[in-house]
Symmetry: C2
């Protein structure tokens, strides 16, 4: 999927013509850092293919906040909106192809472009829904249920993520994840 396809699917099924903003493309190799701690975010990325990890540092440990999969928008959001140094790191967990929108251009277009605002509204809403879902799941679901959901929702991706990273994302020890996986297989 491209940003153009995303707009047809989620924003305006009758959209024809050119996008009001420019789009560039870029590739990241597996393990390449997209945004590091301290960087200022100036771009919005659409993941055409691949997996991206969002982590935050705490003392000497890295905690995993999120994974983004193919066909989703991502960026260091707080840094982008507030133009402050990023407190998260974005890393390509596999080879990634992205489309990139420039934040400065988009900010100008927000004053006049209906489509740009429609896209912003829809994608901010989707990001918020995902976060609320994750928060609720932490409160009311067991690690077993949360791992099962992850498997069901992203079957094609989950096998590409190292187990220790999945455990971190679920907030459990790698040994607990191994036990859960054995339970599921048996």
């Amino acid at each position: 999927m491209t940003i153009h396809d995303y707009i047809l699917k989620y924003v305006d099924p009758n959209f024809i013509g050119e996008l009001p903003f420019s789009v560039t493309t870029k590739s990241f190799s597996k393990n390449e850092v997209i945004i590091n701690y301290g960087d200022i975010e100036n771009q919005i990325y659409f993941l055409k293919s691949g997996i991206v990890q969002v982590s935050i540092a705490h003392h000497d440990e890295e905690k995993i906040l999120d994974f983004f999969f193919t066909n989703h928008f991502f960026c260091s959001y707080t840094s982008l909106l507030k133009q402050t140094p990023s407190d998260v790191k974005l890393v390509a967990l596999s080879n990634c192809e992205v489309e990139i929108i420039d934040h400065l251009e988009i900010t100008q277009l927000h004053k006049t472009s209906l489509l740009t605002n429609q896209l912003g509204r829809v994608l901010n809403g989707k990001l918020y829904l995902r976060k609320v879902k994750r928060e609720k799941e932490f409160l009311v679901k067991s690690a077993f249920e949360r791992y099962n959901d992850l498997l069901k929702e992203n079957p094609e991706f989950i096998n590409q993520i190292p187990l220790n990273k999945i455990a971190k994302y679920l907030g459990i020890l790698p040994e607990s994840l191994s036990r859960i996986r054995k339970q599921i297989v048996s």
Copy 2:
């Protein structure tokens, strides 16, 4: 603040004239349920004054997901967007004055109204930022630090919320919160 003021402050400082959507007002008494579990959300609320609690049920226990304070938009967001029964309950923690926008009217306006989309983009973005902030704080800050932040950010409201609810929101026992409060006073 009203929705009109919110638009002037966060969306378009040059906005003049009438809002493209209708706004009604309503009052809720302290402890009144705004949205219950199972309700379908059809409205977006702007909190002119008061405090609203968002909770989720888990077995026989209620977990507190969020508090909304004066000058913020709120609703049962997942229910609104997906038109599914709400899995959260919204309760007025104090007497509340709200302005209400109708979801159906807004959905129609999303097709054509620049201002309505600008407002949606901005408020979805703000909701997402808040959630990301809370998630990060859970991972990297102690309960002491999180309580201190809550005090600093909402000094005028926090004294109106019962301590057992604040403890639930922070994910700690009421006794731990009492210890933290003693530390701060001393």
